[in-house]
Amino acid sequence: MKINKHIAVSDSGFVFNPVTGESFTANPMGIEIIEMLKQERTIAEIHETLLQKYHTEHTTIEKDVADFFELLKNFSLIDRHETTEN
């Protein structure tokens, strides 16, 4: 799973793709996941990190993260071709 390297993320939750000129806002959880993607962490690592840190269950994280990736894909923030394997 590769996130587009040029993407700028700010603490305020503002996400900007300089290539397409599109801008987005994300909540802190969204920013945290994008940051992990930028550090090239695997999906399993992402799941584990969130599970350690937050009060929730694995199934919930798995479902929500998958949904979030779907959004990133739709917004062309991650490459469509590289999504099946991390």
Partner: protein, 348 residues
């Protein structure tokens, strides 16, 4: 003498091709001789151009849409007031006026002044009520009928004649030349603004507008008539000339005296071949072309603020003729960080 500083919140910063009045209002306020205006912008959307005009607007806050309710708007205004200590708010959007009229006493209690029509004045001039308004105040209005079903139009067409203007309860209008077109507009407009739909006799002639200010006791503080020179495809004036038609001024003074109009307004009128004026619509707020009034010597935004602050305001007696306005658009260069800030924090 040092001019007092007045802190004024202004909405309608959407200076786009169908412009809101906010930016011209601010220009009037900044040119006021009786006070030193400090402008706080109040915006609904993050791309309203006024937000980025830092030489006009000191700071802008996003506010919730009227549709989310007066309570939420009030909460947000309370937050803004805590930071900015507003003295006056000038709402400039039709759709927000109802909420601000309702909130006016609460705002007053917080120390924020407004100068708005009363709820009765606001409702009396609604399109559905225009025929009655005309009768009550002795003003010519085009014939109109409210209908709830498309088929009901048949009853009225003998009287109204083709073409007919099909209008929504609050906004939107179209001109229909036959039943099919009428049905088309009926469906489109009622889907958006609900029922009834108003059928108004099509008034032939030349369109004139008047902007003005009433003090709430029947006195005319300001009145400036304008004839549109050039109209965009959105029906907005792109150029207009201030005119001194005594008949129009008389009609405006009559309107203010009879209704005891409080606050700013814009009258839309049609003059037929016989030289009679018909009142088509009353907008209960400052129009986007108000800077023409400022330019000919009647600073309506300034007088508005003084009235709101409870000061005695001398009526404007005259204005310079021979002036016109020509609108233009202007591309600003904006830092993305400004857009980021207003988008994520709701403040800039």
């Amino acid at each position: 003498m040092k001019r007092p500083k007045i802190r004024i919140g202004v909405t309608g910063l959407n200076a786009i091709d169908n412009p809101g009045p906010g930016v011209p209002v601010i220009r009037g306020l900044l040119e006021a001789s009786s006070f030193d205006a400090h402008i706080i912008g109040l915006a609904y959307e993050s791309l309203e151009p006024g937000i980025y005009m830092h030489d006009l607007v000191a700071k802008t806050y996003q506010i919730p849409y009227p549709s989310s309710g007066a309570d939420q708007l009030m909460d947000r205004l309370a937050y803004i007031h805590e930071k900015e200590r507003l003295d006056v708010i000038i709402p400039n959007f039709d759709a927000e006026l109802f909420s601000f009229i309702k909130l006016a006493p609460k705002l007053k209690a917080m120390g924020i002044h407004t100068f708005l029509p009363t709820l009765d004045q606001f409702e009396e001039r609604l399109k559905v009520n225009l025929p009655e308004f005309g009768k009550k105040y002795g003003m010519h209005v085009p014939k109109s009928e409210s209908i709830y079903q498309v088929s009901d139009h048949k009853k009225h067409m003998d009287e109204l004649g083709w073409p007919v203007v099909v209008k929504g309860k609050y906004y939107d209008a179209g001109i229909a030349y036959n039943s099919e077109q009428l049905a088309g507009y009926f469906n489109k407009i009622s889907a958006k603004w609900g029922l009834p739909i108003i059928l108004q006799e099509f008034a032939h002639g030349t369109e004139f507008n008047v902007t003005g200010l009433g003090d709430g006791y029947g006195n005319t503080i300001s009145a400036v008539p304008m004839r549109k020179q050039y109209i965009t495809d959105k029906g907005k004036a792109w150029g207009g000339i201030a005119i001194t038609d005594e008949k129009l001024l008389k009609l405006t003074r009559h309107f203010i005296k009879e209704t005891k109009w409080r606050g700013a307004f814009e009258l839309e009128l049609m003059k037929n071949k016989k030289g009679e004026f018909f009142l088509l619509e009353i907008n209960p707020r400052i129009p986007a072309w108000v800077y023409l009034a400022v330019g000919v010597g009647q600073n309506i935004p300034e007088a508005y603020v003084n009235l709101a602050m409870g000061k005695a305001v001398q009526p404007f007696e005259s204005f310079e003729s021979g002036k016109m306005f020509v609108r233009y658009s202007w591309d600003m260069i904006v830092n993305l960080s400004d857009f980021e800030k207003i988008s994520t924090t709701g403040e800039l």
